[in-house]
Amino acid sequence: MINELYQQVIQRPDMSSAGLEVILMLAVAYVLGFLFCYVRVHRDRGESQS
């Protein structure tokens, strides 16, 4: 499904040259999601210890 969405994006006339940028944005979003979960877990740990 994600691949289909990606193909839809980069096949548009105004986004034909934005493939790399989109991939970078997705990578950043992935890292942000990972860090969000990571920080939340460690914050809960700190609260449980205090």
Partner: protein
């Protein structure tokens, strides 16, 4: 100079799709974090070391009599009494020390409560008060004391700490037998002693009700052990 496309620099009509892709990537990052955490590879919070002491849960055995009865099987609880046994009041003998964990049936009644109970003479009401009304009185125990509490006079001087003068003072206060004395609280006895004169104020009636209870139940062996314990505690 080439004219710029009107949608250059923007995502144009693909904005919604881009947002969906970013959201999916964000959720994918969270999901991977959760998976790695569940697998124990990373993101696993270190659990605090549980320093709380864990005691083995044992089911106490309620037995009749004191530490001299029955085989030595730990743990055990002694006979329920209207006066709770404390480690200080428990008889300690070299021949048969109580084994197993020390278990108290309940906390001793606060001394303040005894003030409000002045005037109550019924043994049953006294027991109900000290047990909070939840513990029924053993029928045989109650009947035995009721039979003994028929106005007869007992020799109170057989109890440790009660001499002839103190016995006379207690008799004047209406305490003429063991069953009656067993129903008295420490504060009530202390009040009687204080009203008797300065020579009685130095006495400590803390153990008298329990001694009287044992005497009223004709448990003389246990009473002797308890009195030996009291005397050994005084001479230390």
């Amino acid at each position: 100079m080439t004219p710029m496309h009107p949608l250059a620099g923007t995502f144009g009509s693909a904005s919604l799709t881009i947002i969906l892709l970013l959201l999916a990537a964000f959720l994918a990052g969270m999901l991977s974090c959760q998976l790695l955490r569940l697998l124990g590879i990373c993101c696993r919070p270190r659990r605090a070391v549980n320093t709380e002491t864990v005691y083995m849960s044992v089911e106490p055995e309620i037995t009749e009599g004191g530490p001299e009865t029955g085989p030595e099987t730990a743990p055990r609880m002694y006979t329920r009494s209207i006066y709770s046994e404390t480690p200080a009041s428990r008889p300690r003998t070299k021949s048969a020390p109580p084994s197993g964990p020390r278990i108290e049936l309940r906390k001793p009644a606060p001394l303040v409560e005894a003030e409000s109970s002045a005037g109550r003479s019924s043994f049953e009401s006294r027991v109900q008060e000290m047990t909070g009304g939840n513990t029924p009185v053993a029928p045989n125990f109650r009947t035995e004391l009721e039979i003994r509490d028929d106005g007869q006079e007992d020799d109170l001087t057989r109890l440790e700490g009660i001499g002839p003068n103190t016995s006379r003072l207690l008799n004047e206060a209406g305490i003429r037998n063991y069953a009656r004395l067993a129903t008295m609280s420490r504060d009530e006895l202390r009040h009687i002693l204080e009203t008797g004169g300065p020579q009685f104020r130095v006495q400590d009636p803390k153990s008298w009700p329990y001694q009287a209870e044992l005497a009223a139940r004709n448990n003389w062996d246990r009473l002797r052990e308890y009195q030996e314990f009291l005397l050994s505690g005084k001479t230390r």
